[in-house]
Every structure is written in structure tokens, then in C-alpha cells.
Symmetry: C2
DNA sequence: CCAATAGTGTCTATTAGACAGTATGCT
DNA sequence: AGCATACTGTCTAATAGACACTATTGG
């Protein structure tokens, strides 16, 4: 930095600019069986008392939004995020002046994925907030549920992002343990796309190119043992296209 | 709103929350020939005095970010945005605490597209700011140019978004007049992807399904007259895949 | 043996990409 | 005529999607 620039910054007095509170909201996804679930908190206060809402919180002065999202994810789930192979990415920013009736809050929404074995959802311990978060099936909530603020719009945006992204990446594997079978992966796709139309045979052929076969096999009670894979390439080429409903 | 809720909001006193200045930055693209250009302003003050920067400004108290982006686009270009068929969409939010050394400024970056006839770039009148914006070829700036703040990262994100989006949508047509020829459209693709590998014949075949033939033809000095199209479907199916470089 | 799952084989219709060929209009 | 551009035709290799088939396990 030049001496001139240092002098400038030292003497800099900011004009009055409109200021806002900066928050993050989280759409946390996890899969059981062939169902896509998201984490919700039940609001204890007005506005939107007793309605479902997405977990979230304010961005601290020394954090960027992504760091705040990771912190809130850990605080609101109480989980070991390493064990759950958590993935967090920025989704979009919601900035309508009236989205929170109390004051101006701009929210940077984030998409978070947690790994499960496909059988049980992670236990959501009560974090710093009074009420623990709960898992609910995404497609049910979008069909029926009332959500606080603009959280329905955020949830829909997150689902759209995830549904699109797994067409051309192996992001779906972030919803599974590091090692998984093709059947597990196919169930994740079916959960996210809310469909049962994925042919197991064709799915195998299209995916194996991007996967690494561990050489080991695993058995799930019934049926032939299944090969265990890890992700080799993060990108699918050609992409797997979502079937028309 | 219930009486109880009204009472709550009336008596609501916000706690102290960290506040930030909220800004928008704009990546404004337009095409001439087979070159993708973006609009830049030359900074007159520290920090980053004399460096190139993206146009932008602060979000006003009663605006959301998208509205602010439209307003700044009009102010900084001085153009009739209707005539240029402007398209603006949110790109991503940049929130590193130190991205502006003067104070905390969180920027919601936006992608803007302006239509040209493919021959000349719109004249950028000097707006409310002292210096007029200028057009520069995007790939040159990314290769050589120094940009202020984190604007190189924003520019790269915008280019990536546009390059990806035109694979499966006709967003590229927003860089052309409402009516255009397939040759014009192909030049836009080549400009955005920085390639010359698009076969004109195959391009015709793949695009015509999503386009509406006006029935009219137009001639450009040399060669056979070209059919004039408008956009019929915003989505391309199947997508047009970017050739490997 | 039966049921359920894993994974491969096969067939057909469609498509991409390369490139040839024809038509049109300007100079 | 000569040339540049617009667009269609054709060929080949690759692919998707449907579905049959075999193999392997537990009950």
C-alpha cells in the first residue's frame, strides 16, 4: 500500500450509508430411504409465532456469510459436521425491505447437505436456541406447510439448486457416507427428484465412470452383495438428465 | 395479523445487531462481433485509485438488491434499458469483512446483459458519477487487468454463470435485438465461450427447435439472406454442450 | 425353492459431430 | 463469374432408455 493510500485510509470518514442487519438462513438437507428431508425450527415468538422456519442467525462483525453459515449449522444441529461430511454453499440473497416486519434484515441463504447412511436422520440436539430443530419431508412441507417470512421461497430455491446440480455433478454423494453403493446413490437421486423412474441398470452404467470401485462388497439383508464406491470425479459427463414427470 | 402480533411489533425494540452497508456491483455484458465485453469504471479515489472497477452503488432503504441493481445500471450507463432489452439477475453475494478496507460493505453482485446489433457497443454516457464507464473485452481483462477490490472474482463468477446458463437456456438472445439471425446468435455463443469451434450447420439444427421463424429474411452485404428469428422457448432441450477447448 | 437385489447384455430409436453439397445474393 | 454466406443432406459412431437376463444372497 502506498503512503498516499495509507494516509487516505487513516483520514477516511465514512458518509452515512443505509445499513442493514446481515443474517444467514440455512436449508439443511438429509435423506432417509427415498425421502428428502430438511431441518426446521418452530418459532417461539412473534412474528410468525408457532410457524415453521429455517434455522439461521446473524453474521458477526468478523465473519463472512459462509463462515456464519457453518457456525450456525453447528450451533443449531449440535452435530459433528466432519462426521456428517457437511457441505455448505451460498444459495442466494433475499433482501426485500419488508421481509422481516421488525427491522431490515438481509439474509444470505445457504444450502447445506449432511451425510446419512440412508436409514436414520441425524439427531438434532437443541443448540443455543431454546427449541431443537426437527426434520420434515421437503415435498410435504412445500405442498402443505406454512413457513415463516420468505422461507418457502428460500426452501424452493434450495431444492431447485440441488435438483439441478446433481444432474451434472456428484454433489448427491455428499448426502451419503464417503463409501456408498449404487443403490444408495440412486435412492438419493430419487429422493431429490421425487421420482421412482430411475432404471437401476442404466443408472449403474452412467455412474460408474465417475466413481471409484473400492473392490469391496457389502450386503443389506436381502439380495446380492453390492459393490462399494467412492467419488472419483466430481463432475458427470455427460450429465444425467432428470426424467420428465 | 393478529392483535397479539400487532402488539408485539408495536412494542418491539431491536437488540443491537452487527450492521453492514449493503451495496450492489454489476457485471454488464455486451457483445460486438465475436468478443464479449464488460463495462468498467476507472476509480478516481483511494483505495485502488486509477484501477478498473465494476459499476455499483449502495442499496437504498426502501429497495431490494435487484431494484438497486436496475437503478444503478440505468444511472451508470445512461441508457434506455427497455431499448437495450436489459436483463438483470442476482449472481452471488460477496461478504468478506475486509473486502473494502474503509468499512464493512457487503455486495450483492448482479449479472446484466444488454442487447446490441453485434456491431457497435452502446454509448456509455457519464452518469451521476464523474467518470463515464467504458467497455473492455472480458477475456483480456481477466488475463491482464488489475481490478479493484474483489472485482476480478466477481467478474469471473459472472462469466462462469453466463457461460453455463447459455448451455441450457436462450439467455444468449438477451445480448441481441428481439429479432436476430442464427449467425448473430452463434457469434454470441462464440464470444461468451471464447471459441470458434461451433459448426454453423449443426448450430442451426440444434437451435431452430427453440426459435420462432418470423418468415422474413435479412441480408448483410455478402452471402445468402438469413432467416430472422425470435425466441420461442426459453429453455434448450437437449442442452447445447460447450466444446472442450 | 422363492424373493429380492446387483449388475450385465441387448435392441432400437435418436443424436452429435464432421463435412459435403446446394442455394442465394453482392460485387 | 466469383465469392461469401445460409442452410440442408448425409454418414458414422455413440448414446439413451427400455427391458430381458443371469448371478448372488437370505429366508
Amino acid at each position: 500500500m502506498s503512503a498516499e493510500e495509507e494516509r487516505f485510509l487513516k483520514d477516511y470518514v465514512p458518509r452515512e450509508y443505509p445499513s442493514v442487519a446481515l443474517a444467514v438462513d440455512l436449508v439443511v438437507f438429509a435423506v432417509t430411504g427415498s425421502t428428502l428431508n430438511a431441518a426446521f425450527v418452530r418459532r417461539g415468538n412473534h412474528p410468525f409465532k408457532d410457524a415453521l422456519a429455517l434455522p439461521g442467525g446473524f453474521v458477526l462483525p468478523d465473519e463472512d456469510a459462509l463462515t456464519a453459515a457453518w457456525r450456525e449449522l453447528e450451533e443449531e444441529t449440535g452435530l459433528d459436521l466432519g462426521e456428517h461430511r457437511a457441505h455448505v454453499e451460498q444459495l442466494a440473497t433475499f433482501s426485500s425491505p419488508k421481509r422481516d416486519p421488525r427491522m431490515r434484515v438481509v439474509s444470505v441463504a445457504h444450502l447445506a447437505l449432511l451425510a446419512t447412511d440412508g436409514r436414520t436422520l441425524p439427531d438434532l440436539a437443541r443448540g443455543s436456541d431454546a427449541a431443537a430443530a426437527e426434520w420434515l419431508p421437503v415435498y410435504n412441507v412445500l405442498a402443505d406447510g406454512d413457513l415463516a417470512f420468505d422461507h418457502r421461497e428460500i426452501l424452493a430455491a434450495a431444492l431447485g439448486r440441488l435438483a439441478g446440480k446433481i444432474e451434472y455433478t456428484l454433489t448427491a454423494a455428499r448426502l451419503l457416507p464417503e463409501e456408498f453403493t449404487l443403490n444408495q446413490l440412486r435412492r438419493v437421486y430419487q429422493a431429490v427428484w421425487n421420482t421412482t423412474r430411475l432404471d437401476a441398470g442404466n443408472f449403474t452404467r452412467k455412474m460408474t465412470g465417475a466413481l471409484q470401485d473400492s473392490g469391496r462388497k457389502v450386503t443389506h439383508g436381502k439380495g446380492a452383495p453390492a459393490a462399494v464406491f467412492t467419488v472419483r470425479d466430481e463432475y458427470l459427463s455427460p450429465p444425467l438428465i432428470r426424467p420428465a414427470k
